[in-house]
Amino acid sequence: MKKNQENSYVGRRSGVFVKRLVLLFFTISFLSFQGVVKANPQSAIIQLNLKNASLIKILDEIKDQTEYTFLYNLKDVKGVKNVNITKKTYEVGEVLNECLSGTDLSFELRDNVIIIKPKEKEIKVQEPQDEILIKGVVLDDAGIPLPGVSISIKGTTLGIYTDIDGKFELKVPSDSKIMIVSIIGMKIQELAITDKTYKIVMHEESVSMDEVVVTGYQKIDRKLFTGSAQKLSAEDVKIEGAPDITSSLQGKATGVQVSNVSSTFGSAPVITIRGNSSINGNNKPLWVIDGVELEDLVNVSADDLTSGNLTTLLSSGVAGLNPDDIASFQILKDVSATALYGAKAMNGVIVITTKQGKEGKLTVNYSGSTSIKTIPQYSDFDIMDSGSELSVYRQLVDYGWVGMTSVAQSPNYGALGKMYDEIIKGNLNWGPNGTINEDYLEKYGRANTDWFGELFKTDITQQHSVSISGGTAKSNYYASVSYYKDNGYTVADKVDKYTASLRLQFKPTDNFTAGIKLASNIRDQKVPGTQTRTFDPTAGQYRRDFDINPFSYALNTSRSMRARDENGDLEFYRRSYAPFNIVHELNNNFVNIDVKDINFQTDLAYKFNSKLSVKSTFSLRKATTERAYMIHETSNQAEAYRAAGDQSVIDANPYLFRDPANPNSNAYSILPEGGFYNTNGSDLTHYYLRNTIDWSPELGEGHSANFFFGNEVNYTDRSYKSHEGWGISYDKGNVVTTAPELQNYLNSNGQVYFYMGNGRNRRASFFTTAAYTYMGRYVGNASFRYDGSNQLGESTAARYLPSWNASGAWNIHAEPFMMDINVVNHLKVKASYGYNGIMGPGTSAALAMYSGQTLRPSDKETYIYIAALENKNLTWEKMYELNLGVEFGLLGNRVSGEFGYYNRNSIDLIDAITTTGVGGALIKRGNVGDMRSYGYEFAINSTNIKTKDFQWTTNLNLNFHTSEITKLENFSSIGEAVSNVGTALKGYSQRSLFSVRFAGLDHRGIPTFYGKDDEIVYNINMQNRSNITDILKYEGPIAPKSYGGLTNNFKYKNFNLSVGLVYKWGNVIRLDDAFQPTYSDYDSFSKELANRWMVPGDENRTNIPAILDKRTLKELNGQNAYTLYNKSTERVAKGDFIRLKDLSLRYQVPHSFLKKFKLSNASVSINASNLWLIYSDSKLNGIDPEFYASGGVSMPVSRMYTFSLNLGF
């Protein structure tokens, strides 16, 4: 076996510090307990306080203090006892040299594994006459070669260890019968010697629980941890091909609800941990990467994540990470686990640890994947074909909704409008007797345009990542680069993302460690042009101008319109009075997103001795994002600004300029040439500094304690800017033509052509925690933290928040009386109670004033307005939380799991109240709400079958969550309560959906409803805020009552099949608005519309409202019956679903094969994600229950197939 170069320092050092081992056979070994806090994994400096210990004790101690694992044959080392060592602090190599000198053992360091083995001496074996050479390779379950495995021949002294490639060769007497294969941590195997070559697969002794809980600040031994936390290794979570690893957390962690509301790159899933603790607050968990809080590029509230606005693409904090750099996730759920983060962590914490270098030789890893997304199909949705659409058009014509004049004045039209337009232009004749020209329309009736096919592509994405790592005891390194390319799911989007990261660690002296981390990423993304949506409170609807979201377009646009005519040329219709073709528009109206993000971090640690150490972390991050709206001169959005056909269009087109100085002149365009170049930028600067002191005093046998103190400073500056560029002609070399009246136009509309703003967030905190344990059985923990923030304004009274918690745990399995109960390997009960708070949303304790420009025709001046009156009693949103848990491990930990209960009482929640108005604001926001939420969590991991070649493991997690608002001044309007995001009302859950109570169709096919006193009404004021629960029906919560996941893993030899299911249950969904009194030939229709009310009497057979003629609509007299219908009990679906989220098959290339290519590891896998929505409410008609069809840049999560390859050199 060759000597590894990397640990040659041992040799050099040993020359200086050679000490003799004194073997004292009669003294009792003693070892002080030091297990509360584990040292930095990279620290190879250890403190030993041992007298006359056995070698095994010493090795155990080294293992406790470092991340080294030992491999040795017990019989080799158990004889070495009463080792006396001379110093208190050692490097690992040093102490081993000292311990082993004088014995016939030597050691070898490979990666993080120390192999203790007999010194290689020339064993003079008597050469028997018949001797055979056996050789082979030893692998672990995953097919990875195991070095240092002891191979011995039973009944002899013959033996050898496997080399770094897991191989061995041994000459044995031909009459040898049995060989013993052993290594610590694996089951010993006895194999009959029957052959000359062997492939031996070792199996782990048991499925062990996570050993260490990383809270981000501290690493705590799992058995001493009292909070509720769950660790997920990136390997287990990762769905190949997914660019953003967070979405794959769905169904993997107990109590963590992940809703993948959009699949567009950069958009964050909605993640809540144990439900929402606030009514209106930002319920997003805190993300921590390598100990530093991760700020989002742009602040997007949890509610806005579903908005489809462009900013949602900057909402994912981890989109900039290379998924392959992530080593693990630690999800901290209860107040005890999150205590050290104080305010901001009330909604839980997700700690990401990235990979770092390890001592050992240089290794290179490559991982790459290619994914294909499938195109949505019309057969999945309930949309009328173009033939049926034509029959609806005939009714619209009969009723006079579509005709010559209406087409001329209509902002949008499709095939039917085009026919009228051709007739107006004299290119086409009327049908017989002045009817519609059926011959002309026939081709449209047959069109059945597949908009999905026109706009979507079988998307191919690629992801490549290369990392290099290695190191010595003095320093180590990890560097990676990655590239992600998405060619676009639609014809209008694509993404390129590059990341590079570097982590270095140095250890110039025994006590001092310095770490440097440098991470950067660059993103270039293109998405369809989009505008921010606005809410219309009277209709209770959102609107978005010039929306060209391909999915929304395909779903909502008439299929009788054709993308191309008979000649294959693009065929234009009308939208916003201008020619429109979606393919043309997507090519000429798009947004380029540019993100540059650089992060620098240093970690300094100094260890005074085994009891006291200090640590300091500093991080600096700069990120700039720019969104450039490229709206070309031929785009519909630009053309709409100059659409001025006949007089009716001139009068109606809102984008034309009406000169106030000449009120009777015709409106005209202020964009006679060119398009737009609008930019939007946001910059982030984040500094973070934390200093901590870790002190573990000596308390005597069995007792141990740890104290942790620290302070933290957080400094965030954000700046925003936007600029509108009017009149750029991209095709003419970007020449800019500005209309002279532009400024006038902007002034008269109260618009500005540029804007800048900034936000400053300052926080300072102190924290301390104390932990005590006796014999590792009884654990007590308490922590206190004091946070200060500038967000509440100048008020010094409101800006501080103290938070605290106390917790305890009992490791029952460590009790002596449990020692004989072999069935139970792990049993722990734990409880915590604590108090925490978070900054409430959008409030200021101090008077907040901003300035603006008066908007009026003359006398422009600057004014200052009061945005918020002083609220000197304003305080943080707070929460008391009780957490109870039981952890167990049975049957050699083949079955392990955790049961948890939590109860949260949130108080002082921010919501709006109405006041007398006398103080100057009718509606104010303050601490007016209380809410209780509680839930149960259950997780179980079991190894169902385990044989030599086959293993089946199951991982199930369930969560049941309930919330009830216990105090609130019910402020919501009917419009808010019936909207798809629901509302907050006392006595109901955090967000509840209500419906207008449908009372059937009347004799004219108009929907009717029950009013306050169950009377039949056609109109309900959507802005009404009083007694709304008398008028509306409670449908259910917006958030699921229960959710979770089930993962089954099957392993057969080198194949691994994983099947992941996720489910949600108990929530309700408001269906999209689909019905109106009349329709246009531009919109697609639901198939249900075919079943609409047509003639009197139909009201007894259908609930689908009629298309109204003009007279009946007039009778309706502006009453909002159709708006109400869309928000009624008829238009609600259940949100329950079961989804086959992930199906993957991996093949681990056998080691023997790899050797030929000088590879250390290789695997290939194929994976299908979002393969099958096994169950969802049929009323959803194919729409994904997790998806909000909000247009803009949102895109449903699609089926995706991925092929991936991992190689290690």
Binding site: L612, P663, N664, N691, I693, N711, E861
Partner: protein
């Protein structure tokens, strides 16, 4: 590690961030908010203290409107027309007026408080203070006249007024109580007079028409004392603006209005800051000027009974081809866009004080003062003065190109024109003419409601459904209910009696 070392480290760590430096660090303002650290900024705060709400909705409650069968109705217009409590809190509702008037008052109060802490040019500080006091007085004045009984010397001491806000609010839901009408008038008068003595036009930029100029303040005082029935003061303040004799400077020149192009052009002239007759203009977030097709409006029928051969009738525009609904082009309909598309918040610029009103205030005060005169000779002399002031105005309005037959320059002509059957003493005809002209002049400007209230005018409405309802002289429905949110937060509601009997047509 010794204890000394530990101490040293502790000191280092805590010293890095003592609480004192922590407070400094956390005092950083979170965004681009403004601090009122100089008097210019206080003046800018007042630019936003003028209430953005309009009382134009009051017009729907007057006899200037009627049912138009072709118009779509809405809940709010129905409630207003039938003198019921309005449930809406949006634009064109009493609640909206209440909210935004108090919002303006909050700005004025903040300005007054901030001003006390600042140094600067003394006359400038005084002028800003004067403006703030006038805004506070004006907004409360409008509130008390909408939400309380009209001032009546005998009952004002017990009639419920409105809360008079004098300090910036500092708690989430501060409690207030309603003062009496008498107390309100007392506070308004005090603020108004002090403000009037302090303001100085020279500090206003531009036309100054969007601020309380001295002229606007005098017009306010003129209205205040008229409503208070303090006719001597009304006359005195009116004269300070107009002078003793007829002064056409502050009278709207209708020929100029009519020279405007079309309804939009005429509205622009009517509400132009360069019009001397326009004394105070305010930007109002309101939809009334747009909603010709909605609810109860000025109908052609009413317009025909109001105006004959009148210059004002030539600024009358039909809404539909059926010409059932008409409007006068007094307001520009403007839009504050919320996106680059057509959606946005409609607003207009409303002239809240016009010189013409001061003339009518003055005439009414003179008439009332003359009425007190027992000596008939002296009274006749006073009436002559009234006539000498009224007639030039009438000539101005009626000396249009048509109808000159009816306008010969004598008051008798008007008598024949409108009041043929009347035979009481001339004085009463005088008053009728004065009040009717007042109605004609301010039709669709919202002021008619206050006249109906203060003069005890009885009016009848017949709604679209054909229900006829009479608003009696002392009808309790002339007091609008305070907003529901104010009542639920502890303010005493108005007691509004049962509606008078409804008869089906």
């Amino acid at each position: 590690m010794t204890m000394k070392n530990i101490k040293y480290i502790m000191v280092l760590f805590v010293g890095l961030f003592s609480l004192a430096s922590c407070d400094d660090y956390l005092s950083e303002v979170p965004d681009s908010r403004i601090e009122l650290d100089n008097i210019d900024k206080v003046a800018e705060l007042l630019a936003n203290a003028y209430p953005e709400c309009s009382y134009l909705f009051l017009e729907t409650m007057t006899d200037n409107v009627d049912a138009a069968p072709t118009n779509r109705t809405t809940q709010t217009s129905e409630e207003l027309f039938c003198w019921k409590t309005v449930s809406s809190i949006s634009q064109d509702s009493p609640s909206f007026y209440w909210t935004y008037a108090y919002r303006g008052i909050a700005h004025a109060n903040q300005a007054l408080v901030s001003l006390e802490k600042l140094d600067g040019d003394k006359t400038r500080i005084n002028a800003i203070r004067g403006e703030a006091l006038l805004i506070r007085a004006y907004s409360h004045f409008m509130l008390v006249n909408i939400f309380s009984k009209h001032y009546d010397e005998k009952t004002a001491g017990t009639d419920l007024g409105v809360p008079y806000a004098t300090h910036p609010e500092s708690t989430l839901n501060a409690k207030y109580k309603r003062e009496t009408v008498a107390k309100n008038y007392e506070q308004i008068e005090k603020d108004m007079l002090e403000g009037l003595s302090l303001i100085d036009n020279k500090f206003y930029k531009g036309s100054g028409k969007y601020h309380f100029t001295r002229e606007a303040a005098l017009a306010f005082a003129s209205r205040f004392y008229l409503y208070k029935k303090d006719y001597a003061n009304c006359l005195s303040f009116s004269n300070q603006l107009l002078g003793v004799g007829y002064n056409s400077t502050f009278i709207k020149d209708y020929q100029k209005v009519l020279a405007g192009q079309g309804p939009k052009g005429r509205a622009q002239v009517f509400s132009s800051t360069s019009e001397a007759s326009n004394l105070l203009m305010m930007r109002k977030s309101v939809m009334y000027q747009l909603k010709f097709h909605v609810g109860y409006r000025l109908t052609n029928k009413i317009a025909n009974t109001l105006y004959k051969y009148d210059a004002r009738s030539r600024n009358m525009w039909a809404v539909n081809t059926d010409q059932l609904v008409v409007y006068q082009a007094k307001f520009e309909d403007l839009l504050e866009r919320t996106s680059s598309s057509g959606s946005g918040m409609p607003y207009t610029v409303q002239t809240v004080f016009r010189g013409d009103e001061v003339l009518f205030n003055k005439l009414e005060a003179m008439w009332e003062l003359a009425a007190l005169e027992s000596d008939e000779v002296k009274q006749a002399e006073m009436d002559k003065k009234i006539y000498a002031l009224l007639n030039p105005f009438l000539v101005e309005r009626y000396n249009g190109k048509s109808g000159s037959d009816y306008v010969t320059g004598t008051i008798d002509s008007y008598k024949t024109m409108y009041y043929k059957g009347l035979t009481p003493k001339d004085r009463d005809v005088f008053k009728r003419i004065m009040l009717d002209e007042r109605r004609r002049e301010f039709c669709e400007e919202g002021l008619r409601w206050f006249d109906i209230k203060r003069l005890g005018i009885e009016i009848t409405h017949k709604n679209l459904a054909g229900k006829i309802d009479v608003l009696k002289a002392n009808d309790s429905r002339k007091v609008l209910q305070i907003p529901a949110s104010a009542i639920s937060n502890g303010l005493e509601p108005n007691i509004i009696g049962d509606e008078s009997p409804v008869t089906q047509n």
